[in-house]
């Protein structure tokens, strides 16, 4: 089958059955979830996971893609209307969005956010498709040693990126890897860390762990750190007004800048949507014909960060689909959904399951197109959700988590695991560890161990196999570089500081 046939089949698969309805529901939930502060895109996706139990893998993926895309836009709604970013990535949007709302142009700001975000997302999906396929061609030649080295490199890189402390990030990643060793060893049948419990023979429930680390910990955080009440909607009649062609032309440069920034930042695993939206805001201002309007109600100031925020999705999925390295929490949840459906995520996803990947491509295009009508309709629902008392929301979500994790395999141990990992996730958050790195470890763990062992079976126990193969050696060298970089930079900083301190003393 050629590329176009695959893509066509992907669209047919995505649109079959209740496909559109499911995608629209995903987008709607994503927008509402993204609009509610405390429920980031990743949390909204984690909460949607129980609803994928009843779906096949491609439909589950496009549902989650819809939630992800929706949350990207949803965050801008309270940012523009209430000066309260729904997600961290939408914080840049409020710098001009809220000023526009104060000027009575909230609907226009929301319209620009929606349209430019959709444009950015669609372009990023085209780039995603263009990059993933050739990368997949390269990765298909990888053997077990290269695959192990790739998993190790991805883990090290993201552990270093996703937290305030590199060492804590690495420890968090190791913890995630360790969790995948619980249960029956698939190669030898030996029991590991089961402590005599038959329930643990099949291992720890990945979905419960992820929901615990992301969602339960977040709810506990919100309960134990009561925040100030939500602000008032600045514009009495909130709606969505599409930008005119002239306005679209005016924000064209900012949209272009946002798309490029979002893509580049998205492709870098772990860099995240928040960084991209702020970088895009800066860059759009730097290249704008009217930079003096930024901060005073510039539509470009809304277009650039929102485009970047949405374009990150396509960029994020490049390493996720081509290499099996999720670029963000949201991408990691997509891969976890694959595990849930018995599909091993990794660099061979495209080769082994092209139908799934092309359905996801098609689904991404459709969900982003659906975002415009759904975004308009759901706006009112978002405002209602924002008026909900926080305790009502938290209690409802916790109840949903318990029944949702139970529903996986009708096993009460799953909500127990969600609770335990909720507490662990809370602790990790408070003490500067990285839940994202742990989740990445969980996603990559099985692959990393099996490929490591397979490599040594192939080489009859010779570790030199990892350095005699060029690609593998380069990946391991890069891993070492990432590991040593923080220590090197710290030593360099200290050496410079000492030199600066010694200079005046020498003069006197």
């Amino acid at each position: 089958m050629g590329f176009l046939e695959h893509l066509f089949a992907g669209f047919v698969s995505a649109l079959s059955g209740y496909g559109v309805l499911i995608m629209a529901a995903g987008v709607a939930w994503g927008i509402v979830g993204g609009a509610i502060p405390g429920i980031s895109g990743a949390v909204a996706m984690a909460l949607a996971l129980p609803f994928t139990f009843a779906l096949d893998a491609p439909t589950a993926l496009i549902l989650l893609a819809g939630v992800w895309a929706g949350a990207n836009y949803g965050g801008s709604i309270p940012a523009i209307l209430m000066r309260m970013p729904g997600t961290p990535a939408s914080a840049a949007c409020l710098l001009d969005g809220y000023v526009l709302a104060q000027q009575g142009r909230a609907a226009k700001a929301l319209g620009v956010s929606l349209i430019c975000g959709t444009i950015g997302a669609l372009i990023s999906i085209i780039v995603l498709i263009a990059l993933v396929l050739p990368l997949g061609e390269i990765v298909v030649h990888f053997g077990s040693p290269e695959t192990f080295a790739l998993a190790l490199f991805g883990l090290t890189l993201i552990a270093g990126l996703s937290g305030p402390s590199f060492l804590k990030g690495i420890a968090s990643g190791f913890f995630g890897l360790l969790l995948t060793t619980v249960g029956l060893d698939t190669l030898t049948g030996s029991m590991r860390f089961t402590f005599g419990s038959s329930e643990l023979l099949t291992g720890i429930d990945t979905i419960s762990v992820m929901i615990g680390l992301f969602a339960v910990s977040e709810m506990f955080y919100l309960i134990s750190h009561p925040s100030r009440p939500a602000g008032e909607v600045v514009a009495g009649k909130a709606g969505t007004a599409f930008p005119s062609l002239r306005e679209l032309r005016d924000v064209g440069r900012a949209t272009f800048v946002g798309t490029i920034v979002g893509l580049v930042v998205g492709i870098m695993p772990g860099a995240g949507a928040t960084a991209s939206s702020f970088v895009a805001y800066n860059e759009a201002r730097r290249w704008s014909k009217r930079p003096e309007l930024f901060g005073k109600g510039s539509l470009e100031g809304v277009a650039a960060p929102e485009t970047a925020n949405n374009a990150v999705q396509g960029g994020d999925l490049v390493p996720t689909l081509a290499l099996g390295i999720p670029g963000s929490n949201s991408a990691a949840i997509m891969l976890a959904a694959l595990l849930l459906h018995g599909i091993m995520p990794g660099p061979f996803l495209l080769t082994k399951h092209p139908d799934l990947v092309f359905t996801l491509f098609a689904g991404l295009v459709i969900v982003n197109l659906l975002m415009i009508p759904v975004g308009i309709v759901v706006l009112r629902l978002c405002l209602l959700a924002l008026k909900l008392d926080p305790p009502v929301l938290i209690a409802s979500i916790l109840a949903l988590i318990v029944i949702g994790t139970y529903a996986g395999d009708l096993f009460v141990l799953n909500p127990v695991q969600a609770l335990i990992f909720g507490v662990i996730g809370y602790g990790m958050r408070i003490w500067g560890f990285s839940a994202a790195a742990t989740v990445l470890g969980i996603v990559l763990g099985v692959l990393a161990e099996s490929e490591l062992r397979r490599s040594l079976i192939i080489s009859h126990g010779e570790w030199s196999i990892f350095v005699t193969r060029p690609v593998c050696a380069v990946l391991l060298f890069l891993t070492l570089g990432v590991l040593l970089y923080p220590a090197f930079m710290t030593a360099l900083r200290h050496w410079r500081a000492r030199r600066v301190a010694a200079a005046p003393a020498a003069k006197s």
Binding site: G160, S162, L167, D185, H225, I403, A407, I457
Partner: protein
């Protein structure tokens, strides 16, 4: 020509907070901008965390030694990976403590691109241990009661408990919400997703 950036680029850690804070509310406390402890002083928390990692890693190593070792056909065997990870976690703990002694209070071991801010951080109030422990206790009790009492009987008291623990809910909310949420979730899972939710003592009484 590009103009001078409004916010320094690339975005430094917490820049989004500082940028927004500058625009919005300079006085508000923010966990992202708080320095964990003054530079030059030793953080005992970091030392305790380092010690915890060493102990945790050590326990994992000890437990891993009980797993069968590798054989000729599988040189590493099932023991190696957890053993290496346990040792790795312990090593991270040692390095964390050593780094704390050497670099006291500096963000010294930040990763190469740790400027990227984590998702999910937001402004929040002070920590309330009672609420935290209350929420954990209520959730644990709810899970324990989930199977024997059934979903419909166990859920409303749990939701009411969380509302009370959080505080701030009006009486009307406290009386109505638990039942509304319970019924909505039950309907979604039982009739929407066709998942058999435990009915407890109500099994046989319910018409479905």
């Amino acid at each position: 020509m590009p103009d001078k950036p409004l916010i320094p680029c690339p975005v430094p850690r917490g820049a989004e907070t500082s940028a927004v804070a500058a625009t919005l509310d300079k006085t508000k406390e923010n966990p992202l901008t708080e320095t964990p402890h003054p530079r030059g002083s030793l953080s005992y928390l970091e030392l305790v965390l380092g010690a915890f990692l060493v102990v945790f890693g050590g326990v994992i190593v000890a437990l891993s030694l009980e797993i069968p070792p590798g054989v000729e056909t599988d040189p590493l065997g099932p023991r190696f990976f957890p053993l290496a990870l346990g040792a790795g976690i312990a090593l991270c703990g040692v390095l964390l403590a050593v780094a704390e002694f050497l670099f006291r209070g500096e963000p010294s071991m930040a990763g190469p691109l740790s400027d990227a801010s984590p998702e999910g951080e937001e402004d929040s109030g002070p920590f309330s241990p009672a609420r935290f422990l209350g929420a954990i206790g209520a959730t644990a009790l709810y899970i324990a009661a989930f199977d024997p009492l059934g979903y419909l009987l166990a859920t409303p008291p749990y939701i009411a408990a969380i509302l009370l623990i959080h505080g701030g809910a009006r009486l009307r909310t406290l009386l109505i919400t638990p039942f509304l949420v319970t019924i909505a979730l039950y309907a979604a899972f039982r009739f929407g997703l066709l998942i058999p939710v435990p009915d407890g003592p109500l099994e046989g009484i319910l018409p479905w």
